[in-house]
């Protein structure tokens, strides 16, 4: 500690180490928050259901998505990424997951919402398996913190099905 440069260096390294500790504790404090998210999805309409020219099935739906994800936000949350996926089984694949819609929720106030929207991304099967198919709609979310580890979870809503014939 005999010179200016020596003290400045010591201060800088100790300050950054302490900052790392602070961020670790802030991230750890997330474990104490109670989280009870809820969601509900209804299919309002099946707009189109046909076989594409290269042979795969395609569906276009209008969804009514309502969710309350406000309890996921803590002081250490930067944003929440949420998406809706259709999950079903085919003879070829034991699990198909097709993402239909997603959004980024930047703040707690925007986390309770209800929207009616047609699927943002195309629902195309690998094959022609969708007639009369039963599927789950799952709402997934990824909570991205300001500091620390991202964690993800989901709500599975079973019991949706597609019509037996093309429209």
């Amino acid at each position: 500690m005999h010179t200016f440069g020596y003290r400045a260096n010591a201060l800088l390294t100790f300050a950054i180490t302490a900052l790392a500790f602070i961020c670790a504790i802030a991230s750890f404090s997330d474990k104490f928050s109670n989280q009870n998210p809820s969601a509900e999805i209804q299919i309002l309409n099946i707009n189109r259901f046909k076989k594409q020219s290269h042979g795969n099935d395609e569906v276009s739906l209008t969804l009514d998505i309502s969710a309350d994800l406000q309890s996921l936000f803590t002081w250490n949350t930067k944003q929440v990424f949420v998406f809706v996926a259709a999950e079903y089984e085919t003879p070829k694949n034991s699990l198909n997951q097709v993402s239909l819609w997603d959004a980024i929720i930047p703040a707690k106030e925007d986390a309770k919402f209800r929207i009616q929207v047609s699927n943002k991304y195309r629902f195309i099967d690998q094959g022609q398996n969708l007639r009369g198919k039963e599927f789950n709609l799952t709402l997934h979310w990824h909570v991205m913190p300001k500091t620390g580890k991202m964690f993800a979870d989901k709500i599975v809503m079973p019991g949706y099905s597609l019509p037996d014939a093309y429209r």
Partner: protein
Amino acid sequence: MDWQGQKLVEQLMQILLVISGVVALVVGYATESFRTMMLIYAGGVVLTTLVTVPNWPFYNLHPLKWLDPSEAEKHPKPQVVPVASKKKFSKK
């Protein structure tokens, strides 16, 4: 800065930074504001810099006592006697 000053600086630096960190964490958690925590900590770091890095006079209260020049003359430095080169004696 003298030895006592250096020791004081090291202790002050660590204590001030730790306190800044703890206060920042507590206030940030209580106000649910990450930004507040970072601002308080940054303020604490700046304060610590101002207190510990410049060479303030109160760090020099126990200055080293160098030997007085007149005293030094009474005890001259020992002269280094050049060693005469030794020749190798070969037995006749």
